[in-house]
Chain length 244, copies 2
DNA sequence: ACCGACGTTTCTGTATACAAAGTCTCCAAC
DNA sequence: GTTGGAGACTTTGTATACAGAAACGTCGGT
């Protein structure tokens, strides 16, 4: 009965840390992001409880929070499942993120101090390196870190929190709908030029840069209407990935 | 031990409906909105459970969801309390709502059918009437209904859901920071002219109309820096409103 | 009168038990 | 071969018990 979290759970308990609902939320979220838990996966409370070594109470709280974050769906008297955002929702999520992240970038332009800019510049650099090495997981991690930094430094904290959510949701659908043959969703010019605009303080250029970047990203996805496939999968969805 | 929900609970149970976490969420939300539960109010799980006639399990789920909606704060091993958004957060919430609702209005301009427009027109009409009669609660209800309709009809459902959240959050801070002497936050021209733009299909005019409307609303609030008062209240916050 | 230690009370965190709803399987009937 | 249904099984909904943390009040000392 191998679980994909064994090592991390062992590490956490060794470290004296108690497994809390937050721990479970983080792990499930990451597993969904990396597609180790594909959409439609059943997440029964007892199974999760056994895996993490806690009772259903804790698992229930974690699932409730994951549902609030749109990571899983919870219907009365039914097993929670990993959510499968539709193609339409994917487009809408990208549009929402363009609006919000564009605004955040505009607010941020010219307002970051040297240290913050340097941090971002370093990440941009490391992302390029990782791409050159063909280390896609590392590249994704650095790319995500850049966007999360924007959210974190947003002068408007409310927008920042909304952006954090949207980054997560777009990441999930990117993983879901990445064009089959595509090795990477890397756009070499975008992050460096964003950095330039943030530095120079041109708010509208920064906004446009972000919006174009996100639109290009969306266009890298395969959002053609094989929606039937997804729907069938969601309905018949029998796969498991938790117990086994 | 009078609770502010007695009648509604009785009605619900008479109707055969079982009290669920959703019921509790709705009631608490509304009570916060109408300031019957002022910021800082303690919300102990057992007390709520007694009032609603359910066990802590149900209350806990409700509180978790209210926390996800930013209505209450939950800190480990401490009683949940009604959240007291700061003045800064209030400003940020308004800015976020201007961005999102402006976009929704722009998307909606010229895309509503006659029936939907008629529904909104009727609400605008009734809001004006309620204001004329001095029936402020009714006016607020109709005003909120207008904005919620925008959110509901948003072509972009993701943005629509975000807008629903933001409407709730701004409503709470409006109640909180309404200038003392002010009887009403009514801006006679704004809703009718929004309707005009939605009808004519001028997206940018609709966007601007919403943004101006929300900015005017924000300016009606008393957001001067008596922030100390709020902070003290949150810290000493000893008031109760649930048990009694 | 003020301050700090200590015991009491209150409240949350977690596990668990039981009931109700949903799901699956198998078998008979068409 | 497909449909329909009875039963067993699985899974969630809710209540409750107990342990531990925080808040509160009291009492002694200064």
């Amino acid at each position: 009965m191998s679980s994909i979290w064994q090592e991390e759970i062992a590490a956490e308990t060794r470290a004296g840390g108690r497994i809390s609902d937050r721990f479970i939320v983080d792990k499930v979220r990451k597993a969904v992001l990396t597609q180790r838990l594909p959409p439609g996966t059943r997440l029964p409370e007892v199974a999760l409880g056994d895996i993490f070594g806690v009772s259903r109470s804790v698992v229930r709280k974690a699932l409730t929070r994951l549902a609030a974050d749109y990571v899983v769906t919870q219907q009365p008297n039914q097993v929670a499942r990993v959510r499968a955002p539709s193609i339409e929702e994917t487009r809408e999520t990208f549009a929402a993120r363009r609006l919000v992240e564009g605004e955040v970038a505009a607010l941020l332009a010219g307002r970051l101090d040297e240290e913050q800019l340097a941090t971002i510049a370093a990440l941009v650099e490391r992302e390029a390196e990782a791409h050159a090495c063909g280390d896609e997981p590392a590249r994704i991690e650095h790319s995500l870190a850049i966007h999360h930094l924007l959210a974190e430094h947003s002068p408007n904290r409310v927008l920042g929190a909304m952006l954090t959510d949207l980054i997560l949701r777009t990441s999930i659908v990117i993983a879901l709908y990445k064009r089959a043959g595509l090795a990477s969703c890397y756009l070499a010019e975008d992050h460096p030029s964003l950095l330039t605009h943030l530095h120079s303080g041109d708010a509208e250029a920064a906004r446009r840069c972000i919006r174009d970047h996100l639109e290009a990203l969306e266009n890298l996805l395969d959002l053609s209407v094989r929606e039937t496939r997804i729907d069938l999968m969601a309905i018949l969805g029998q796969r498991e990935g938790v117990t086994e």
